[in-house]
Symmetry: C2
Subunit: 375 residues, 2 copies
């Protein structure tokens, strides 16, 4: 006990116990709201047959265990700014609902992204498609039928959560103007993310140009907007922050979002599988057009690397060779520097009297957390 | 001229020219709102690359040329009931926006339904998936890549329209209570339609029971709810109709929706291809579990028909043989009677002082229109 919570037992008297963090408190509320929503849906689904109940169960499973990055950002911006602007601060409940909306959006995007990538595993467990197709195989269906059953279930699950996200924002009990601006924000998140997803598939199928600027733009669209910019701007709006602040946070979010994705790309090749829970073969085998690859394509070493890239039968030795090749040609260092540059630029945006210093400190930590990630 | 519009030139003086039908007027508004929405999106998409602009163009194409059944029902209920209930009548603009929301929902469902069915043609033209995959093939991509590109585009297009439908309802300028009830309605439409779609795939893949009640329930969920019940109930709500009337129309809608689908199933086997624009091989080749098939499965003739059903190489002769077989075993007559029964039951629900007679007459025509359809 002493070792586990030294800050309580050794250094503080009871009177000094720190007040519970409102962000953490509200994250608990997000979690209970999500659970309540999924339970109600599972219950309602029973009227429409066993399979539909199973779809909602699997959808619920798929939304468990995430990092809740987006809700945390909504709530950090909300609590960090409430009372700091000139506008009216909306109810804390509205912030919780908005945080949940971004999490539902995230789950919906993951579901459809997995269908598009043909992935059946997410966070180390079968996803909705994986679970439904495995069940079909178990019940004697052939491969194509099982696959169709799995993909259909995942498409529908994504549709249901996408709609649920919009419903949350539509039902916010806030002023007309605030709701309208939040609807704009979530609309933009959906619009821009779809653009990024299309660009990503375009890169993977060779239908879009694959230069470095294209890959970076894709990253900003596909990840940064709905993961960082949108949530921060939403929290700021609900806190009654000035437009300048909302814009500032959205700009910070685009930089951090790209940095985060660059970190993911690096971990996808150089990460420790036992820590990330993600294989280092995946990205290279799937021929994912990351910044590493886009850089490597422009170097003299690419002709040696290309035959290995995107091979369905890529083994551990060839993977290691490809990873070393990407290091030799300078792609790894390039991606690491680009990541550091994005982080530095993001941190620089925070150096302004427009932000309360506690929020600036939190967001600086978030940005710096993108450097040297291990998971 | 005289022959084309005898009602104006021969029988009426100018003073007698009938006032323009408000439903038709508002349908024009729905059309211009849809066009304006799609143009704005296409314009905004340009920032995110050529492919995204093309996605919005193709999405726009895909939403052209429908019968606008759902908007018409919203508007018929709205205008038919406005001033007839005790509640407050909302603005006509709200009815137009709601009508558009149901049309957007319909386009979204068609897009995802086509992905699930692997269809690349809709209304005699390539759909979004068909257009994108054809372009990929043209640009030298192999079959699997072209297919992935097409399906991804269609999944994203469906997501975008599904979200757009929710946004329309969320932004209605109506009273808080009305908006909340309309959000409930569209939520129910999405929830029930997804259940029906899952059941449909379950039948097609052999993952769900395929008895007659299962097939009928699937039809009611997949089609009737969002196509008839939801739109009529929405129009009634906006017209300030009493709850009893809203419920009555939703009930009527479930019956007519099933009748309409039974008509589609019959046309899918016995229709005139030159009139329907739809091949009579499709349903039988795809192994679609319609009421015809569910009935036939329970007859002594099924063992003779089964080997032909769902065959990928089904030719015109075998199709004709299967169609005759379905007739001999009584499936055709059964489906026709069931359709007539649903129509009769729907018409019976209209025989009530709760409805203005003009609306009852319109809805009677709609119901009777499901019998003996040729297209």
């Amino acid at each position: 006990m002493t070792q586990l919570r030294p800050e309580l037992t050794e250094q503080h008297t009871v009177a000094e116990v720190p007040a519970p963090d409102p962000v953490d408190e509200d994250l608990h509320s997000v979690e209970s709201e999500l659970t309540a929503f999924l339970s109600a849906r599972e219950r309602d689904a029973a009227t429409y047959g066993e399979e539909y109940t199973r779809l909602w169960q699997a959808t619920g499973e798929s939304s468990r265990g995430g990092k809740r990055l987006r809700p945390r950002l909504v709530l950090s911006a909300f609590h960090g700014l409430a009372g700091f602007g000139r506008g009216e601060v909306e109810d804390r409940t509205a912030a919780v609902q908005t945080a949940l909306a971004f999490e539902l959006l995230h789950s919906a995007f993951l579901l459809h992204d997995d269908v598009i990538d043909g992935d059946t595993v997410r966070r180390g467990r079968p996803n909705v498609a994986g679970e439904f197709s495995a069940d079909a195989l178990f019940r004697g269906a052939g491969g194509p039928r099982a696959r169709l059953w799995g993909e259909s279930a995942a498409i529908l699950a994504g549709d249901l959560l996408l709609h649920a996200a919009a419903q949350r924002v539509a039902r916010l009990r806030v002023g007309e103007a605030t709701r309208s601006r939040l609807l704009d924000l979530i609309d933009r998140s959906v619009f821009v993310t779809a653009a990024g997803e299309l660009a990503d598939v375009g890169l993977a199928t060779g239908m879009s140009a694959s230069g470095l600027p294209d890959v970076l733009a894709m990253t900003a669209y596909k990840t940064a907007e709905y993961s960082v910019s949108g949530p921060l701007a939403a929290g700021a709006l609900l806190a009654g922050a000035d437009d300048e602040v909302v814009e500032l946070l959205a700009g910070y979010g685009r930089l951090v979002g790209v940095a985060f994705q660059l970190g993911d790309d690096l971990l996808g090749v150089y990460g420790d599988e036992t820590v990330t829970g993600k294989t280092v073969v995946g990205d290279l085998k799937q021929g994912k057009e990351t910044t590493l690859i886009a850089f490597a394509r422009g170097t003299a070493q690419w002709p040696d690397l290309e035959p290995l890239f995107g091979r369905d039968d890529l083994g551990p030795d060839a993977t290691a060779e490809l990873a070393r090749g990407l290091e030799r040609c300078g792609a790894r260092v390039f991606a690491e520097r680009l990541l550091a540059d994005h982080v530095a630029a993001a941190v620089a945006t925070l150096d302004t009297p427009l932000l309360p210093s506690a929020l600036a400190a939190t967001l600086t930590r978030v940005a710096l957390g993108c450097v040297g990630r291990t998971a």
